[in-house]
Amino acid sequence: MKQENTTVLEHRLFHGDYRQLTLAAPAIGPLVKPGQFVHLKIPRLGEAVLRRPFSIFKADDQGISILYKSIGKGTDSMRSLQPGEKVDLLGPLGNGFPPLGAGSTVPVLVAGGYGNAALYLQAKTLPVQGVAFFGGRTAADILCIEEFEALGWDVRVATDDGSLGTRGLVTAALNPWLEEQRSETGDPKSSGLEHLEVFACGPNAMLKAIGDIALENNLTAWLSMDRNMACGVGACLTCVIKRKTGTGWEWARCCKDGPVFEASEILWDEN
């Protein structure tokens, strides 16, 4: 993990409300593993004392790029970034997604919002291409379909307004597909879906839903959790979630112990 004063190479509208910011980051770029993020210091936002975390969309030896949507003062002020400007990064942070598990044959990606960006490198790295389920409010929210198809993934879309793919939540597309996949194993304890392994990133509600599905079907599901962060490196204990232990639960830091957790580890909070 490094602190690097990077340079804006390119900054463009990507799709819908999302922009792509490409940064020259020769120190951070080569270290990136799928599912990791950078902690970005917003330039020209003198009143902000905190950085902002962004998943790494693409990375190579020269640098990284992120996809972001402006939802508040930090991401608003990012919009004015010009090529050549400096952007201070911490990264790559977090432990990202694991490789495909031994018993698993079909990887399944489930994403919403910037989750599509967060899963791209994983989709690229996995040894086999499976099915990618993307959800969003409307067509404009669905990012990177072409990118994933170019990697050989079977992309299935669900939108709340039905403007693209199945109408409804991403689970509306996922669940029927899961039923098709269910194989008769004879073993009563088996759900017939153990050959699948899920990698997901998106809104909390979506992750919760995927987590529940995973538990019911004892699937392995890796969920990348989004929590507000301050330090981004494990020092401040801001970004904690409850992780199950033999006896009960303990705090785990999304920035350092995550952001990716296996569904069965997570004790979901009411709030």
Binding site: M1, K2, Q3, K41, G46, E47, A48, V49, L50, R51, D88, L90, R227, N228, A230, C231, G232, V233, G234, A235, C236, L237, T238, C239, V240, I241, W251, K256, D269, N271
Partner: protein, 305 residues
């Protein structure tokens, strides 16, 4: 041009420069080790520890405000023994002095944690948090009530020979009585200031932005409050003061030292720039050289007021 000597002393603790980090903003030591050469620091001050493991507050625990942030972490931690087992070995690879911030729910708690950690040779000093603004079971109480304050300082003093640094609560009508009381009860130094009790509300949900409802305000927003409290405390006591509150660069450190601080701590600024403490050390040395200041001592409390 002279090469300044940045050495200072906090009781028997010798620091090669007057810059440490503020408890709770730098974890237990390892977290920032990739970004900061810990041995460059005058001392590392770790997150608050109490006798027993503590779960702390629910989330959200922090919230950003104008030039500052609120925190109500609630002092989660592994407890004294847990800290010794989990984190103390890490420091064997470093020479940097280690200051452990301690707190308790009861006076006895304070004594117990002081006793347990006081026996550890790797620990150079204990910083006593009597001013934690956000733990219902304690903190604020001890820091704002002069009698309780004295009992805690006396209790900790009686349980360890290590230098003890009493970290004062900012939310009092006058800081001098507390500074004097700490000194007279045998404190080796003061830390000024802790974050300031505050609150923010989400107007859509009408819920506080922090699960704990209130939290401590820190960062550049509070720097002018901290500078005044350091200046006042310095007038009241002869023991050294570790100044903190919104320090982001060398000039801020110089300002605190001129106000009367012997050392300074970088807190919230670690989050926006982990290299802050090292920048402060290098910048302070340069500033002293440019201004012909040979020793931190020569700068301390030189405010013309």
């Amino acid at each position: 041009m002279i090469t300044p000597d940045l050495k200072i002393k906090i009781g028997s603790l010798e620091m090669k420069n007057p810059v440490t980090v503020a408890s709770g903003t730098f974890g237990y030591g390892p977290e920032y080790a990739d970004y900061v050469d810990l041995d460059r620091l005058g001392a590392v001050t770790v997150k608050g520890i109490c006798a027993e493991p503590h779960i702390g507050n629910q989330t959200p625990r922090t919230f950003e405000t104008a030039s500052g942030m609120l925190n109500a972490i609630g002092l989660p931690g592994p407890g004294a023994q847990g800290f010794i087992d989990k984190y103390l070995p890490f420091f064997e690879d470093y020479e940097v002095p280690l200051i452990v911030n301690i707190w308790g729910k009861t006076v006895e708690d304070y004594g117990r944690v002081a006793e347990i950690l006081g026996d550890q040779s790797r620990i150079s000093a204990l910083e006593v948090n009597v001013s934690c603004p956000n733990v219902k079971e304690g903190g604020a109480l001890y820091g704002t009530n002069l009698d309780l304050f004295r009992t805690v300082v006396e209790e900790v003093r009686s349980k360890t020979a290590k230098p003890i640094i009493i970290k004062l609560a900012p939310n009092v009508a006058g800081i001098k009585p507390f500074a004097k009381a700490a000194e007279s009860c045998g404190a080796d130094a003061l830390a000024v200031m802790n974050s300031y009790p505050a609150m923010a509300i989400d107007i859509e949900t009408r819920r506080p932005e922090l699960a704990n409802r209130t939290g401590g305000l820190s960062g550049p927003a509070i720097k002018p409050i901290a500078v005044k409290l350091v200046w006042e405390a310095a007038q009241a006591v002869n023991i050294p003061i570790i100044g903190m509150g919104g320090i982001c660069g060398p000039d801020d450190a110089v300002e605190f030292i001129i106000a009367g601080a012997t050392a300074v701590a970088v807190g919230t600024s670690n989050f926006s720039d982990p290299s802050t403490a090292v920048r402060v050390i290098d910048g302070l040395e340069r500033w002293m050289a440019d201004h012909d200041v040979a020793l931190v001592e020569e700068l301390r409390g030189t405010v013309i007021a």
